[in-house]
Amino acid sequence: MQDLQRLAASGRVPAPEVMAARARRWGWWYYVEYWLRTAKAWFQSILIYMVGEPLLYLVALGVGLGTLVDNGVGTVDGVPYLVFVAPALLISTVVMSTGGELTYPVMAGFKWDRLYYGPHATPVTPAQIATGHLIGVLIRFVVQSLIFWAIMVAFDAVPRGVLVSALVIPIGVLSAAAFGALLQAYASTLQDEGYQFAFVQRFVIMPMFLFAGTFFPLSAMPVYLHWVGWISPVWHGTQLARQVTYGAVEPAWLTVVHVLFLLALTVVGVLWARRSYTRRMGS
């Protein structure tokens, strides 16, 4: 027979105020721990995706299309097409992955499986849940960027040097955070079944992929379309990535703008998400 007295009060649990203090400090991390634990379940399939995607893109666009481009115009931005397009593909694919991670799973958290409401009944706050979810996803993007970078190295697409080019990893994660945090915040405001996500996929994420200087420099597009690049975290991230992989030349102020733009979007997205989670879960 189980000793229920001990089950209900073993004396091994700290005082409530101690538990609350820990959660106030580390609640976001407890949610990251949870996220990582669930990620273990599908890690294998995600790993195949994280390795397969760069290979497919680099072979098809870098090598295949690249041969045509190099034979036709010679180089793009002074480098072979593979070298030009590879950093852009890293940024694009990582940012595009937010479309899977920070849309439907957010809806599941609030509505379908109500997973957010488990921790909501504990000392962990909605704002911490929001940030914890984002950071969990960003940890995945660290791995994804790392794998992509390693494959770029294997394809000999980092003329500036292996070490410097590793900076594409934080740049990739920052780009994903800039777009992902906003997407997460937006997703948290939706009450219905998330039909809007298909729209976001087609009319926000795809245009960023196609028109934000990924496959050709922004300057190759008519001036009246440049704004697509300017407002897109993909373009800003891509330009930074190109600097560290092959030494693309840009004025210093523009580099600062890239970084500040990505940081600003991240901060706005994180604050908006925290606020939106707090409101939605508290009403």
């Binding site: 209900a8 609350a20 959660a23 580390w26 508290g282």
Partner: protein, 316 residues
Amino acid sequence: MPPVTSVVPGDPIVVAEDLTKVYGDNRAVDGISFSISQGESFGLLGPNGAGKSTTMRMIGGTLTRTGGTMRVAGLDPAERGPEVRAHLGVVPQQDNLDEELTVRDNLIVYGRYFGLPHSYLRTKADELIEFAQLTEKAKAKTTALSGGMKRRLTIARALVNEPKLLLLDEPTTGLDPQARHVLWDRLFRLKEVGVTLVVTTHFMDEAEQLCDRLIVIDHGRIMAEGSPRALIREHSTREVVEVRFGAQRNAAVVDQLEDVATRLEVLPDRILVYTDDGEAALEEITGRGLNPITSLVRRSSLEDVFLRLTGRTLVD
């Protein structure tokens, strides 16, 4: 920060005064006051939409209240939410277990939200699994569990921080009778070792089984308060005769039953004859040649109390 009030048996652990929650022009909770003592088992009884869950969520501070005051272990949940929730175990109306995780992992993950170390959680998870009678399923994904098992796991999960106060929002809704009895047994044992239970339910038998004291809520207001037995004594008779004459005849015979009963309640499908001596009343009815199609003498229940107070049945 104000000091945390120490919790003494018999002292109130929850005190709500004039608690109000307004959504638009809907007063979901309309100025209710109650107090729950440490070690007590307290029920909120009412139909769906009465404001039970809303009240429950305001206790844990996961829902902002519109007005009134609330103290849980001496703290205001609106201001000291994490501290209040560290005192609580919460069993929500809808299970929100992670179906992709194992039974054990669900417990460990949840314990981490309280800042509890893995060293504690490893052994605690096993004890809780035993309590929930899920030892065979410890390593199974939660999705493989039956409804009753999930419910027991949710209750076990709520105990991970050894709370003094357990909030249970409709703990057995949707479960079959056997699963309900298993669950009541678990809850009863917790009550025996001094855990304060707060239970919302629209099941009368559940309230009678589990609650020392309860409030009957309808339209966000308290209709009555007391122990199940006292409420029955106060608002109903000792026994009830349920008679059916068929939908057509029910209305016609009502007049002839009036002097048999202390009180009559005419429902669409049957007539409830309230009386202190059911057998005698039934004899009188058949003696008058009224010959009901079916008849049943039973003791009064909280269902009758609710009917009396609101004019409506609890579960349609």
